[in-house]
Symmetry: C2
Subunit: 349 residues, 2 copies
């Protein structure tokens, strides 16, 4: 791939998103306008995308198009998707990573199918027991979000798994978002008696010991209401709890939005007020819309996968591409692998 030697190569599955391949293409164009050192391996199926690309002069020499015979649908169960994986755009996007052409792949398709295919195609990093999904969570800090993992790649996690999540979360925070000395905490519940869950206690002990070696600040246990706070950057938890927390947060935000809408439709005065504050309210809506914080990331595989939200628009896609290019530029994957190697050779880990 000599033509891409000086470029940041991104493999992108353009199919399976709610808004269609044309929206993904808009995201690619937007990202390329902001950063012309990007090169895209564009994975598509059908006639529409090649036609759109053909007309799109602004991307000239910035992509290679790879045609697939099939796509994974949003409704496919992971097992079903796996049986028909070959020659889908999703599979091909992962192939670009497994054969070394790209370090990061992006897809806004079916999460379960993407995780299942990624596990098979990329395999776990040597020394990692369980891969994790890291998500960005709206928060009150300047950056606007915190990192939580695992958000549901696996349902269980023992003490060592939680330590590996801490390691992966810290690497991700540093390479992806330039957070120099991330604050890391373990999700737990508050009551004194309960702080004793043996796996969490053990994990806290090891993570505390790792903090000086890996360069982060361990702040101990945090509770659910700390997740969106500025006292923390990386929240570590098992995938069952993380997924429940994520969905509960989304559900609560949706409830508040619903009630908010009801409120502003109830009285004439409120309707007038909402017209006056239209722009401010629109900005607020953007800020708390879970779709705007785009890019759940699969960590712990031989290659990084950015899972963009199924409903992501061009701005969301472009944000996911920017994240992927940042990770590539900072050699995230290689750094992570060498950290895993280093830590696994420590005594008492």
């Amino acid at each position: 791939m000599s033509e891409n030697k000086y470029k940041t190569v991104i493999s992108i599955d353009c199919m399976g998103g709610d808004l269609g391949e044309q929206e993904v293409l808009k995201g690619i164009i937007k990202a390329y306008k902001e950063n012309n050192s990007l090169f895209f391996i564009i994975h598509g199926a059908g006639k529409k995308l090649p036609q759109l690309l053909f007309k799109q002069k602004s991307l000239l020499n910035a992509y290679r198009y790879v045609e697939a015979g099939n796509i994974v649908s949003m409704n496919d169960k992971p097992s079903q998707a796996l049986r028909n994986a070959r020659n889908t755009t999703m599979w091909n996007a992962l192939t670009s990573v497994s054969n070394g052409e790209a370090e990061v792949a992006i897809s806004c398709g079916n999460t379960g199918a993407l995780m299942a295919m990624s596990m098979i195609k990329l395999k776990k990093i040597n020394g990692i027991n369980r891969p994790a999904i890291a998500v960005l969570w709206p928060s009150t800090n300047i950056r606007g979000f915190n990192i939580l993992l695992d958000a549901g790649a696996d349902i269980k996690a023992d003490a060592q798994d939680l330590c590996q999540y801490a390691l992966m979360g810290v690497s991700y925070a540093k390479s992806g978002f330039n957070i120099k000395n991330p604050k890391v905490g373990i999700l737990n519940i508050g009551t004194e008696e309960h702080k004793g869950s043996s796996e969490l206690l053990k994990a806290a002990d090891i993570i505390n010991n790792l903090s000086s070696i890996l360069g982060f600040k361990f702040i101990g246990y945090v509770e659910g209401d700390d997740i969106p706070s500025s006292k923390i950057d990386v929240i570590v938890t098992d995938g069952f709890t993380g997924n429940i927390a994520l969905k509960t947060g989304e559900g609560t935000a949706t409830l508040v939005r619903t009630l908010f809408k009801e409120t502003f439709n109830k009285s004439l005065m409120a309707k007038i007020a909402s017209l006056i504050a239209f722009k401010s309210l629109k900005n607020l809506r953007k800020r708390i819309d879970p779709r705007r914080v785009n890019g759940g990331v699969f960590l712990g595989l031989n290659g990084t996968i950015v899972k963009s939200h199924g409903g992501a628009d061009a701005i969301g896609i472009s944000a996911a591409i920017t994240l992927a290019s940042q990770l590539t530029k900072n050699n995230f994957q290689k750094n992570l692998e060498s950290k895993v190697f280093q830590i696994n050779n420590l005594k008492n880990f």
Copy 2:
């Protein structure tokens, strides 16, 4: 207690709330105004409450005052509170239940201490492995809330515990809120592969079998974003997950409120709008304020304990009293005990 023969007797610990005993008293007066068949065993410490009661003619013959030597502070750790439990208002309020004077006690004091004391003082219902805390969760249904349990009484729950939570949750929904045929679900995560956690699978199977015997509708697994929805009335989960979900929901609601305030302070137009919509916004704030949905309840002990929020105002206290009197009137405790007996004698439970 012949004077209370025709009255609904409520034991109430007036100390330890953030707003002081005077606010609890206001709540008692409000509840009594709405329902003069109530009789209160009022537990206090210090001079203030007796003085206030002395001046309060509206409660004449509607209470008995019990003086304690000490109170449990909000900062006391459960173990610490237990060591000094005797002769506290909290302990005395539980005594009124254990000696049969009242069926339900209310406290807005320290949750951990209250749970620890309740376990010792009231002991578990014969056949119940783990007591649970049931909380009310703001939702989009007409009632305005759903019931979730366990919200953190214990950290673990096996299949049988989850079934007992379902049983207790159903009894509570029926006696406390007149929900005739409650919809019950188990909190789980969505991905196909993960639906297999063996304890959850087993629990789903047994709960499904119980539904016709106990008169409820089992709707299977639900996810975090279903908790505030109208598709469910009772959400069953272990105490670790339940507590994380609860705190995460509260944290998210707080985040949205914070951002909302910021939005309305940012521009002049938005400020004007917030003045115009002042009343509507105030109503909305009330609706999503977790303190307004008052009354976490300890279930599975020989006596029911309503844990009112520490920051509850008179309206909140009055809501907790109304809930307690509703449970007493409907013989909640006796019904629950006989259901536990009935179910435990079933084969395959």
